[in-house]
C-alpha cells in the first residue's frame, strides 16, 4: 500500500505534467528547480492547481522552504491534516 506521502508525490507529478504540458517523472527527492526545470512562476501555477485538487489553501510564503517534491508533499500533507 502506498503511503499518503507517495500518493501526494504522485499527484504533484501529475499536476506538474498538466501545467507544463509534458510528462514529468518525479520522486520525493526530485529537486523542483534543478531536476524538473520548474521556474518560480510555473511552481506557483502548479501550486494553484494543487490547491484545487486537494481543496485547500497553500500560502505562497510557505514555499520558501520547499526545494524538493518531497518538501512540497510534506507541506500539503501538513496543511491537509490541519484543515
Amino acid at each position: 500500500m502506498e503511503s499518503v506521502t507517495d500518493l501526494t508525490v504522485r499527484q504533484i507529478g501529475r499536476t506538474a505534467g498538466i501545467v507544463m504540458q509534458r510528462p514529468v517523472e518525479v520522486t520525493a527527492a526530485s529537486d523542483i528547480g534543478r531536476d524538473l526545470g520548474v521556474d518560480s512562476l510555473t511552481l506557483m501555477n502548479i501550486v494553484m492547481e494543487l490547491e484545487d485538487v486537494f481543496e485547500l489553501s497553500i500560502p505562497l510564503d510557505r514555499l520558501a522552504d520547499v526545494e524538493t517534491v518531497g518538501d512540497l508533499a510534506a507541506l500539503i500533507n501538513e496543511l491537509r491534516a490541519r484543515a
Binding site: D39, S40, L41, T42, M44, N45, V47, M48, E51, E55, L56, S57, I58, P59, L60, D61, R62
Partner: protein
Amino acid sequence: MGLLDKHKDYSQRYQAIRDAGADPFNVRFEAVISPTEGVVNGRPTVLLGTNNYLGLTFDESCIEASSAAVHAHGTGTTGSRIANGSFGGHLELESAIAKFYGRQHAMTFTTGYQANLGIMSTLVGRGDHLFLDADSHASLYDGARLGHAEVIRFRHNDPEDLYKRLKRLKGQPGNRLIVTEGIYSMLGDAAPLKEFAEVKREMGAYLLVDEAHSLGVLGEKGRGLAEAQGVEADVDVIVGTFSKSLGAIGGFCVSDMDDFEVMRVVCRPYMFTASLPPSVVASTLQALKVIEQQPGLRHKLTSNAQRLYDGLKAMGLQVGPECSPIVAVTIPDQPRAIAVWKALLEKGVYLNLALPPATPDARPLLRSSISAAHTEAQLDRVIAAFAEVSEEFGLVNEPLQRATA
C-alpha cells in the same frame, strides 16, 4: 563557488539572447527628442514602449514648474521625510492627489515599486490573508513577500476563482485583502472590478487596486478603472505611480481608512528612503492639473490606441483581448520574438520585448504602449513596419485580411 553562480542559468539564457544579435534589456537611446521620438544606433526611432501615455514628459508647463522648483528648492531632499522633514511640495502633492481621488488620505513614495512594497507589507501582517491576482506586477509579489501575511494567488481576472479561494478560508481569523490592477501591464486587459467588488462585499474583505497603468487613461476624470467602472466606493485603497501618465517618477497611495496616517511611522519603504526631489514633485503637481484641464489628451490616447490595435488585428496578428493603451502582440516562440523585435528596431520602431516568465501565458510578447502624443502618421509607420516583419517572419498563417476602410 562564486557568489553569482546561482544565477548561472539566467546568465546563460541572457547570453543566448545576446548571441542572437539583440540586447532588448539594454537599449541605449542616443537622444530622446520628444515623448514619441528618439535616436537609436543613429536612427530616428518611434518610441512605442515608454508608458508615456499622455506624452507629458515634454509638456511645457510641467518642464517650467520643474525647472522653477529646482532653482527655488535645490536638486534633492538628501533624506527621508521622517528624518529630514517634508518640503512644502510634498504636502501640496499629497493633498492634490487626495483631492484628485476624492479621498481623505494620500501618501507619496519615491517610486511606484516602493509604494507597492510599502503598502502590501504594511496593510496586512501575520495572521492576515492576501489574495493576489496571478498576473500581478512583480512589485506586488515582492511587497507580499516583504510582509508576513499568508499569500494566496487567484486566477487572473477571475472573480469566481477568487470567491472559491476566499471560501476555503472560512472560519479562519485575520483580515482579507484582495489585490488587483486596473490595466495589466503585459496584455493591457482590465480587471472586472464590479464583480471583484461584489465578492469583496460578500466575503467581508478589503480591496486594493493598483491603477499604475490606468491613472490618466481611464474614467471621465482620469482616475482610472475604479472610476470607469463606477466602483470607487468599494475600493478601499488605490496605489499608483507618477512615472507613466504623469511623466515623472514616484508612487502614491490614497484611502479613506481611519488612522491611515499611522502608515508614516510603520511603513518602512516610506520611512527609510530619501523623499522625492522638488523638481519631480513640481512637475507631478502640474501634470495632475494638466490631466484635469485637458481631457482631450485622454480621448486622443484612446483613438490612437484603437488605430494601432485595429491595424495589427486586421493584419491577423494575435493581439490582447481588448483595446487599451497597451497593445501586445503574442509571438509563437522566443527566437522569432527576438528577431522580430530587432527587425522592428532596425526599421525605427522601439517597443518592449517581454519574455517568459514575465509574460502571462509562457509565450513571448511584443508590447507597445501608445501615447496621446503619437501622430497618426507615426502609428501608420508602425503598422507598416509590423506588416513587413509579419511577412518576413511568417507571423500570420492565414492570408492577410486588410481593413479596407
